[in-house]
């Protein structure tokens, strides 16, 4: 049908021929933020000093630092999210397995409540 699924699944855009920014998590945002950081720092340096060559150096340095900085931040959050997903999956599996049995952690709590009353 027309309009359904405009982008092909698995389509990739490889930066410098090797980094697939569309399919690698955090890659696209890192490159975009890096470009923005490069522009801001380079332009800011030029406006402050009017030195073209040094501003270009600052722009390239800014691109690398911003890109890598966001990359580490994003990948760290992604790793934490994956760990939480795994724990959730394990917890859901254990709940299904142990529900109603003596190993059910929720049963222990209701058992202690009855004991108090």
């Amino acid at each position: 049908m027309a309009g359904e699924g405009d982008s092909e699944p698995g389509k990739s855009f490889k930066l410098l021929g090797f980094l697939d920014v569309q399919n690698v998590p955090c890659a696209r945002e890192s490159v975009l933020y890096g470009s923005l950081g490069s522009l801001v720092m380079g332009l800011g340096h030029f406006l402050a000093t009017s030195r073209v060559r040094r501003s270009c150096d600052v722009a390239v340095g800014g691109f690398i630092c911003t890109m890598l900085g966001y990359w580490f931040y994003c990948r760290y959050n992604l790793a934490q999210q994956r760990i939480r997903q795994r724990m959730l999956k394990e917890g859901m599996k254990n709940r299904v397995l142990f529900e109603g049995s003596y190993l059910d952690p929720e049963k222990e709590q209701t058992g202690s409540e009855r004991g108090d009353s």
């Binding site: 998590p25 890659a27 890109m67």
Partner: protein, 227 residues
């Protein structure tokens, strides 16, 4: 299995392969940063006037010592983490022996019953429609999904290598030596691999097929084979 023009990794079907793909993405990002810097410096050098009056360059010497050291640390730490993760003691639920021959594999499941079978490639002439050329075998390795499997790999004649890319496994099969690896198939499916050590004329024609099935299916298969 890989598509005809695929350059990248296959989708991960084990936790180790997921980690390896993550590390590969990280290494590529570091490589992108280095390439950007080198390309810029190259452009700069091509537009700069050459000078022979360099006698003292303490700052640049410091930069190009510290920076590569930091890059190496950035790559080494996650790499070593995965290396040690691969060697963790994980109490496998099943042990499987894979023995390489010229030019087929023999598999042995000897944990509970003596189950042994050979795995030959299906020739193209005998391949059913829709099956994968040079990858299908007559007897697949069946493993239970979600269970850690220990594979002991050896060879009977020459060097071979038991490799399944989507499970992140590649282990050399050396005559007279037992090499051990382990994997955990996280989801049901069929995973293809090929012999990865040159072993003669039909080296390309001794594939490996691992089928991950739910535990009841695995039990039914093993009991049907042993009876």
């Amino acid at each position: 299995m890989a598509n005809h023009s695929q350059l990248g990794f296959q989708d991960a079907s084990s936790p180790i392969m997921e980690e390896l793909i993550q590390f590969h993405d990280h290494a590529l990002m570091v490589a992108l940063a280095i390439c950007s810097l080198v390309l810029y410096l190259l452009t700069l050098m091509l537009t700069e006037k050459l000078s022979s009056s360099t006698v003292d360059a303490q700052e640049i010497e410091l930069v190009w010592t510290i920076l590569p050291a930091m890059v190496l640390i950035t790559l080494a730490l996650p790499s070593l983490r995965i290396l040690y993760m691969m060697d963790e003691i994980n109490e496998p639920d099943l042990t499987l022996k894979a023995i390489g021959h010229q030019w087929y594999w023999t598999y042995e499941y000897t944990d509970f019953k003596d189950l042994t079978f050979d795995s030959y490639m299906i020739p193209t002439a005998d391949l059913p429609l829709g099956h994968f050329r040079l990858l299908e075998v007559d007897h697949r390795v069946i493993v239970p999904t979600g269970s850690t499997v220990r594979v002991i790999v050896t060879a009977d004649d020459v060097l071979h290598s038991w490799a399944v890319p989507s499970l992140g496994v590649k282990t050399d099969a050396i005559p007279g030596r037992l090499n051990q690896t382990s994997f955990l198939a996280t989801r049901p499916g069929v995973y293809y691999g090929q012999c990865s050590e040159i072993c003669g004329a039909n080296h390309s024609f001794m594939p490996i097929v691992v089928e991950s099935a739910p535990l009841p299916n695995f039990e039914h298969w093993s009991s049907s084979l042993s009876s």
